[in-house]
């Protein structure tokens, strides 16, 4: 049973599409994200003040979004209004 693996490009991270073929017929097709660093786990227990530095490294392409989200969340938790410098 041949299995075709297509690595995907033009995305951030590593992913592939795996297609199983039998007698010219597609048996199954899967999208697999094959990169794992575990941000969900290693940020647990780290001080909230440090999130704006850690989470932008989730994705270098959209790091600004992660950074701003972290800053806003922290401000919300501490019931601050966002400092003028950050706005």
């Amino acid at each position: 049973m041949p299995t075709l693996i297509f690595p995907l490009s033009r995305i951030e991270g590593h992913a592939q599409v795996v297609i199983e073929v039998q007698g010219g017929e597609v048996i199954s097709a899967h999208f697999q994200a094959i990169e794992f660093r575990g941000f969900e786990y290693f940020v647990q227990g780290a001080p909230a003040e440090q999130m704006p530095v850690i989470v932008p490294r989730i994705c270098g392409v959209c790091s600004t979004a992660h950074h701003v989200a972290a800053v806003k969340t922290r401000d919300f938790c501490h019931r601050h209004t966002t400092a003028p410098m950050i706005q």
Binding site: Y41, F42, A46, G60, M85
Partner: protein, 282 residues
Amino acid sequence: MRQFAVLQLSGCAGCEVSLLNAEAWVDRYKLVYMPLVISAYDVPEVDVLLVSGGVRTDEDLYNLRRAARRARQLVAVGTCAISGGVANLGDRDEVRELFLAEAERRHLPRLLPRIRPVDAVVTVDRYLPGCPPTPELFMAVLFTPTDFKVGKTVCRECGRKKRRDMRPTHLIGFEQGEVLPDVCLINQGYLCVGSSTRGGCRALCTRPGHPCVGCRGPSDTFIDKLSSEWFTSIQRVFAAMTDIPAEEIETALRSPQLALFLFQFSDYAGTGRPPRPKEKVL
């Protein structure tokens, strides 16, 4: 035309984005492989191979070994490739336990026992630290211009004035909510490690007012020494410029945010390998 490729291991593609922001190489180098922007399945023979990201999964290990054979020169780019970077946080024991529990349940890719720097697997010709390195540094590593001059430390490039009349007694920086322009961040009570961090970034963070987190690693003075010397040097700077208790600095320096970057060259000294030569580090 010389050809180069970018191999992405476990990282965030921030280095690639920074490389794309430096556009002057376009006329002189041909980019033949970089999954972020080019649909090519394999690394061809190249003059320069930039490797970004750390070696986290067994697939990273396989890809790196295979690609390294086809490159005449290999450059480790970014903090992840040099020390594991942000993913290094996943090597803390308590996090590792969580990882393993989840990995079995969810069919995650096979993780190596710990994240490894690129030069633990293959021979590296040059290092380009930074998270990410600035476009200017990418140009410098691709072309090695003779007129490329950088300050020895971030402090030298920063230009904020150190003041004798401002001696904070605690790390109060972030509580103030604002930054005075032109005054050293240490005088304002921020934990800034620019005094011993490698220059070359043109003080991109400290000039607008964010303390240096040390992403470029130790300066030439500390690069081949134990991490404790770097640590002591930062303590000395704070003792000279502030009245903050040493224990407070010590605790703050060991926080995860700074641990991301601090010790990124020297922590690897414990593995029995010689320290990375400073001539190879841009």
